[in-house]
């Protein structure tokens, strides 16, 4: 695993120091590529803009995620909290590509918003800034990465005792103060992770800029993609990718440092605000002070998560061939029509083959890895579990070009095989994580009990361990399959002349809108959601265990 992952990355680093010529890659080492990156002011400008967007998206995402997570954890109860969490999870799961595409149909020049504005005679011609620009990229990315940020913050808040919040109210703190001074500091780790995660994801994303950014929305990921795939200049793309990565790490480190340095002044400021806020808010009537703001805010955010996908669903049934209001009439025509397009069958075959390979190999690697993680203790254990997360910490673009250059170097034919390898890198850790979580969740005494009653280690494995982890294995395999079927960021680099459904759909979507894309998008979302639902049911059953065994 480590070799497959680290090898290409190391190779990619060396590529960044090599020359490129017409024949391909020249000998190195040279700093030419880096010089080229920084000599072009356009490159530097785009890098800085990308960084700006990444950080802005991360800030917006983290703030919204905090509000949503706070409401889910502390302000909504029972069924409502479960439904809200379910919506967040479903939004995070439903196809990434389709959710990006959804915003294209809303913000596009002839998209929903512009045509609505024109119909209402509010504007005479389509508003350009809505589409093809950093505004639409920002809105789309904030939407796309809100679920994952929310889940990270929710899991951090899970550790906080809800009685802390009650105690804070009991001691006279209002809702704002409780959220900012009791909840936020305790969820600090999760908030920081959510920020860093969304910053990395957003600034390395090239699908969103290509789909909704247009000519005025160039970002680094798109440049890297172009260098590698269109120009075939791997050293240039590698240098650009690593330059930007270094910039991003530098930026995140600076932010972390600033946060640390500002802790004391911030605390002083907070105390000052506290003192005056108490005096000011004393005049607010009880009935208003007692109202929760986070609940309506959470409702708005949930609507933000649901509505764009609903637009895709609705317009997949619209008989008009352009996207926009008014709704012409109901049709199912687009569903079969998209599947008849050139390349669909091949892409579907590719998707299925890659997903199956990735899941089978991923399980074969992931399950033993889970046992190793579970058994390893101390430094070895933490090292192993860090390794498991590594493929997720590496931006998809980087993984993509790393494998691409490695395949090039080894003379491997790009296509389903290489793509399967990339997907194994993503599925195996997932299996390892889920199964090791299951193993950790089990009482180790259960295995001792089996041995105590005379079972040999092999018998314990067969009669106790495997039956207990099987639902987790199947659940993880399903999640891995759904992930593989939807993966585009890395696949796009490694699939070569072959294709998978997301890659094919991406190509279709870039060519212009077509209601058939909506239809396929709906099918993809429904497919991933269905797979996840089955996985969720299976994983839940492992927790409750209603297994019966007649004697």
């Amino acid at each position: 695993m480590l070799v497959v992952l680290a090898g290409p990355l190391a190779l990619l680093i060396t590529y960044a120091f090599r020359e490129s010529n017409f024949l391909g890659v020249g000998p190195g080492p040279t700093l030419e590529q880096f010089k080229a990156v920084f000599e072009q002011s356009a490159n530097v400008k785009i890098m800085l803009r990308t960084l700006g967007i990444g950080l802005a998206v991360a800030t917006a995402c983290t703030a919204m995620a905090f509000v949503l997570a706070y409401a889910i954890r502390f302000r909504l109860h029972g069924r409502r909290a479960a439904i809200a969490l379910g919506i967040v999870v479903a939004a995070g799961i439903a196809s990434f590509l389709v959710r990006v595409y959804a915003w294209g149909t809303i913000l596009g020049t002839n998209g929903l918003l512009n045509s609505a504005l024109q119909d209402l005679s509010l504007v005479n011609h389509p508003l350009g800034f809505l589409f093809f620009g950093y505004f639409s990229i920002g809105v789309t990315m904030a939407y796309v990465y809100l679920p994952i940020a929310t889940l990270l913050v929710v899991s951090a808040m899970q550790e906080i005792d809800p009685r802390d919040v009650e105690a804070s109210h009991d001691l006279g703190a209002g809702r704002w103060r409780t959220a900012l001074r009791v909840v936020a500091p305790q969820a600090r780790g999760g908030i920081a992770v959510a920020f860093a995660f969304t910053a990395v994801l957003a600034s390395s994303d090239y699908v969103t800029p290509l789909l909704v950014g247009g000519a005025r929305g160039l970002m680094v990921g798109a440049l890297v993609q172009e260098d590698a795939l269109v120009n075939g200049n791997y050293p240039a793309s590698a240098a650009l990718a690593f330059s930007f990565l270094a910039l991003l790490v530098l930026a995140l480190a600076t932010i972390a440092l600033l946060v640390r340095l500002c802790r004391r002044p911030a605390a002083a400021l907070a105390r000052l605000v506290d003192r005056h806020a108490t005096r000011l808010t004393r005049w607010v009537p009880d009935a208003i002070a007692g109202r929760s703001l986070s609940r309506p805010a959470a409702l708005l955010l949930l609507a933000y998560l649901i509505l764009p996908t609903l637009v895709v669903v609705v317009f997949s049934f619209n008989s008009a061939s352009t996207i926009g209001l008014p709704f012409k009439g109901f049709t199912l025509h687009w569903y079969p029509s998209i599947t008849e397009r050139l390349g669909f069958g091949e892409a579907l075959e590719g998707s299925i083959q890659v997903a199956l390979t990735a899941v089978v190999v991923g399980v074969l690697i992931g399950v033993p890895a889970a046992f190793a993680i579970n058994r390893a203790t101390g430094r070895l254990g933490s090292g192993l579990s860090a390794l498991v997360y590594l493929p997720y910490a590496i931006p998809g673009v980087l993984l993509g070009i790393a494998i691409l250059t490695a395949a090039d170097q080894l003379g491997l034919q790009l296509g389903r095989g290489v793509t399967s390898l990339v997907h194994v890198l993503l599925v195996a850790p997932l299996v390892a994580l889920v199964v090791s979580a299951r193993l950790t969740g089990m009482d180790p005494r259960i295995f001792e009990a089996a041995r105590d009653m005379g079972a040999s280690p092999a018998r314990v494995l067969r009669t106790v361990t495997l039956p207990l982890i099987m639902p987790a294995v199947i659940g993880a395999a399903l999640i891995g399959a759904a992930y593989s079927l939807d993966e585009i960021l890395a696949t796009n680099f490694t699939i070569g002349t072959s294709s998978t459904i997301p890659v094919w759909l991406f190509g279709q979507a870039r060519r212009g809108f077509n209601p058939g894309i909506n239809a396929l998008g709906v099918m993809m979302m429904a497919g991933t959601l269905l797979i996840f639902l089955i996985a969720a049911v299976l994983l839940r059953r492992t927790l409750i265990n209603p297994g019966r065994e007649p004697v």
Binding site: D452, M453, R459, N545
Partner: protein
């Protein structure tokens, strides 16, 4: 029935003991969790390892079960060294604190597990599972999933799952620790009667001294990785050999005193700020005249008023406890607890405290144990909630 702690040097070859631990120790990295331990346990005994959290009692049990191996020393079962025998080959079964029931099996599946492992026939398994479930009063629970059972029922299933294998020895690791007080009391009686009926040797780990007193034939009281005293419940309660034992078991006033004269089984002492009296003495500790020592007196061995007043003090509090009441009497800044009758008018103000003749024990001077300070003092059962690490 149970034999003494120390093997008696009888004439002829000594009989092979049922279970014998000699010099057993356990280290985890730098921590010595078990100091050299010698114990002998007779067949059919209900033997309890009692002590505060982290005293090493669970470690000792796990060494017996085979889940931990001793760092040194040996465990002999019927004369055979168990050092190299893995857990699955030992003729013992264990009831785990967390029950450790197999969540993917029914009650009957759990109970039958050990029998299946041994390759018993279907009919035999069915019969024995039915029988053992009746014994633990769950005759109809067989087909139910274990997750549907209450804590008390799960505990019974765990017991049945172990007992059905007819082990030579049943090891119980705080089996009642997770249950509420009422259920615990009820199951204590039941465990006790099952043990007496089957005659199986029980090794029982608990931190609840009341539980240990109520159920055991013999108790080994442990502290800081060491067995500090072994004896029957009555002996442990009435004849403490150290301050720790006196304070861990039941309630005790510990009063500083000075030795006047010491014999083999008793000593004459004078209490600091009080009178002289004769107290019992147990164990091997030597007491020398004029040395400081500690008088250990249970509240029920003191009374307010009497012929020979030992201490003088002021009643600070009178607590009604149903069967009796308890006076908290301040003597020289120390609170002395005295049991009193609930009949008649309660004593108030300045009082004299007397010792019930023939009661009270003297033990060597020793600082109070932090563990007992925390747990033992408050009615004796506060330690029950602490989890054994």
């Amino acid at each position: 029935m149970p034999g003494g702690i120390h093997a008696t040097t009888a004439d002829g070859p000594a009989p092979i003991p049922f279970l014998r631990l000699s010099g057993v120790t356990k280290r985890f990295d730098e921590t010595q969790v078990l100091r050299s331990t010698d114990l002998e346990i007779a067949q059919g005994e209900f033997f309890t390892l009692l002590g505060p959290s982290g005293c090493g009692k669970t470690t000792l049990l796990r060494i017996l079960s085979g889940f931990e191996s001793a760092s040194s020393g040996e465990v002999r079962f019927r004369g055979k060294d168990l050092g190299r025998t893995p857990a699955e080959r030992r003729p013992f079964n264990m009831v785990f604190q967390s029950y450790a029931l197999f969540p993917h099996m029914s009650v009957a599946g759990n109970v039958a597990y050990g029998l299946r492992t041994k390759g018993a026939g279907r009919e035999e398994i069915r019969e024995r599972v039915r029988g053992i479930l009746e014994l633990v009063h769950l005759p109809d629970a067989g087909p139910r999933p274990v997750s549907e059972l209450s804590g008390g029922q799960q505990q019974r299933v765990a017991l049945a799952r172990a007992l059905v294998n007819e082990p030579e020895m049943l090891l119980l690791d705080e089996p009642l620790g997770a249950l509420d007080l009422k259920l615990r009391k009820f199951l204590q009686d039941e465990l006790r009667s099952i043990q007496r009926r089957l005659g199986t040797t029980f090794i029982y780990v608990t931190h609840d001294q009341e539980e240990a007193l109520a159920m055991s034939h013999r108790i080994a009281l442990m502290n800081a990785g060491e067995v500090v005293q072994v004896g029957g419940p009555r002996e442990i309660y009435e004849q403490p050999q150290s301050r720790f034992v006196a304070e861990f078991i039941g309630e005790a006033n510990v009063l500083a005193c000075k030795v006047l004269a010491a014999g083999r089984n008793e000593a004459e002492v004078v209490l600091d700020g009080g009178g002289a009296c004769t107290l019992r003495k147990y164990g091997d500790a030597r007491l020398v005249p004029t040395d400081p020592a500690l008088a250990v007196v249970r509240p029920e061995h003191l009374q307010i008023g009497g012929a020979e007043p030992l201490l003088k003090g002021v009643v600070r509090q009178n607590v009604f406890l149903g069967t009796h009441c308890r006076y908290d009497v301040e003597v020289d800044g120390q609170i002395v607890r005295v049991a009193g009758s609930t009949a008649g008018a309660p004593a108030e103000g300045a009082v004299e405290i007397c010792l019930v003749p023939g009661r009270g024990v003297v033990v060597p001077d020793e600082p109070a144990s932090a563990v007992v300070q925390q747990a033992g003092r408050q009615g004796g059962s506060a330690a029950e909630d602490a989890d054994d690490a």
